[in-house]
Subunit: 305 residues, 3 copies
């Protein structure tokens, strides 16, 4: 079986079978990063371009490591050093890169839809590494991999996603993926951070976080972007932490085998308390480890066969 | 045959035979980038340093891809992260890099002559990747490669170079190369952007762009640097586009097999209209593709034999 | 023999035997960089992360070249593009990187102690590439390698370290290393730049630079950070150069086979005059060359066995 599309732009473009293919492939990739020699020749002579218009440690590094462990040549381009400062359009930047015969372009961009513009303009496969508040499909895939790794299945699992839903590409991609795979999704967060189209997504909204996490198998905390405070979406960091932060006391209402996830970077003491982030239920660092495996799988599936 | 100099600093240093050697070598290099495994071991164990004091996507990426496809280790240094912020002289930066035993240094710098300072101070080969308004020899070589690829020859070809001649290292390198190879060069552009020494260059100046492109085999549009407007070199972008931009209407005066070139990044709707940039005469993306091949050829000729 | 600690954080953690092991290993590494093919497969499949929170050409490039010549995959992360801009703690950044299964992390940070925080939090080996005014152990090791290379021994050698001792991690690491190896260390510099705990260090302070360098085998000039002037630590650059700069006249008091060292980048005409920096006693560029060898040795000893 193969992926049907040349690109990975959004979870909605993937069938449940394709999602399973990616997760299964990632399982065999994960083992490579535990070897003494963490490198296979699969993508030798392939050129992967990381085109990052937003700063990122985790995601860029994860893709770079994924590419290098498969022996690809990885080229990093960050917006600070790019021709975007010279007013070139994204499409022209893409066409220029395409003309250098890369095998795949990974793009992160502040504008929703930017990866699609690139993918439509170019024959080369494009992976969306996060576009504005739209999608972050590789994050949802690594989250699903991590849940499945711990719970053996995604079907029937209840996942509570807590925080700034409106502005979160992580939430959007996770909702789409989890629903496709038969999980139940509940959202919670301040009213100012819940999108109006929430019922159309087929998910429930539970204003009280205590209620939302009760009986959940997985609690996925979203990063609060502190600059939102200036826009009046929440009054103070302390108040946000008090009403929507996940702390040990609140966690007592959760199931005894609950899993705590967070896409990072953490705001310790805001959306998650340090003892919970570092505690026994947290699988936050598993997510990071699995991110490399999932990205290796995607590179392999899109250009390695 | 070999290149006589250790460096590539300016087109004027190359003989016609050397230019042909580079173009012929680039032809065989071009094929490598079309393979499934785009990598040959030619420069394995060689260290190539990209020392970029000006932001650049295209040129830095082109050199990096060229180096990696030849299996060199490529080290990128950009001015934002370099010791230049600590007041070190260029010569000292170069000597320090030299002390790490690199095999070749590629330098882009805002100051004309900077690559020569580096080359004179160091035994390692230096390639000028653009220095101020002085030269951009690899651009002229890839342009020549592209013209020859399409027209089978450079001798007897008429090339109209249009735009801000005074501030263009691309123009300067192209004029030198094209004249060496027996092409005829015509310039056009605003009077404020034509250098006073134009006749000494042995080229003609035709103020009216319509006249300049008539009977030209190749039209090379230069990028207008929009910040020049502040210096009063042209009144408005719209007026520049109207009098010196290449659009479909103006193109009707050109030969039916004319080639349109541009070094990028494009200012669409300023020096070139989108339909012309993307139209059937445009070989702008061929230039980019050939840039990788020409840079692979130069790396090979300077350090791979 | 092996290094006892998983990390290299400070010279004080190394025994004299370990220092000799590093220097001896570096000797065989140095030869690799003189080969036509400067690459050995020792660290193939290993991932080395360069995590630089301060700009640096020389040190970052030196580690990157060292890693690549040993065939490691090297990942550069600079603070400008990192999650630190998103308020993540250093420990969390480290844990996230650890989760991607790197083999070694090199860190430079403006805060003294940052590498230790990272090393204590992570199982992966950490190398301190300079932390605030605390330590720069690889600099001291490459300095020791260079002195030993020229003088055949460290024991009994007299080294005068001149300049801003208080703020110099280079001085601190060198004092520790040289004393361990039986060298005699003398300090000189403005009173405002000498730390109060100087006698506890077991070194002598000689206010007059002419006295300090008399009979010294090695003169190690420190870089003056010009921004210190704003803090009133010295009146003018000219006055600093006059009283504490090393120039040809002052050098006449030194031994005929004295060695001049400087960690770079140079402030020519401030702490060192150009004729001395480039003169016959200067081994400043040897230091840079040996830096690559010492870093190769450390990578090998920490993760290559």
């Amino acid at each position: 079986m193969e992926l049907r599309n040349k690109d990975l732009l959004a979870i909605r473009d993937l069938s449940p079978e394709e999602i399973l293919l990616i997760l299964d492939t990632a399982e065999s990739m994960k083992e490579i990063s535990t070897r003494d020699i963490k490198k296979v020749p699969t993508l030798r002579g392939k050129t992967v371009i990381n085109l990052f218009y937003e700063p990122s440690t985790r995601t860029r590094t994860s893709f770079e490591i994924a590419g290098k462990r498969l022996s690809a040549d990885v080229i990093n381009i960050s917006s600070a050093t790019s021709s975007t400062t010279k007013g070139e359009t994204l499409k022209d930047t893409g066409r220029n890169l395409q003309a250098m015969n890369p095998d795949l372009i990974v793009i992160r961009h502040a504008a929703a839809g930017a990866p699609k513009i690139l993918a439509d303009a170019l024959p080369v496969p494009v992976i969306n590494a996060g576009d504005g508040a739209h999608e972050h499909p590789t994050q949802a895939l690594l989250d699903a991999f991590t849940i499945r790794e711990k719970k053996k299945t995604l079907a029937g699992i209840t996942v509570a996603i807590i925080g700034d839903i409106t502005h979160s590409r992580v939430a959007r991609s996770n909702i789409a993926l989890l629903q496709k795979m038969g999980a139940e999704v509940r959202l919670s967060g301040p009213y100012t951070m819940v999108p109006p189209y929430i019922e159309a997504l087929g998910v429930s909204f539970i204003p009280d976080i205590g209620e939302a996490i009760r009986d959940a198998d997985v609690i996925m905390m979203l990063r609060i972007q502190l600059e939102r405070q200036q826009h009046g979406l929440f009054p103070t960091v302390r108040e946000y932490a008090r009403f929507f932060g996940l702390n040990r006391e609140r966690l007592q209402r959760a199931k005894p085998d609950v899993l705590i996830m967070h896409p990072g970077p953490l705001n310790r003491g805001v959306e998650i308390s340090p003892d919970v982030a570092d505690g026994p239920y947290s699988i936050i660092l598993d997510q990071v480890t699995n991110g490399v495996a999932v990205r290796m799988a995607l590179l392999y599936l899109l250009i390695g066969k």
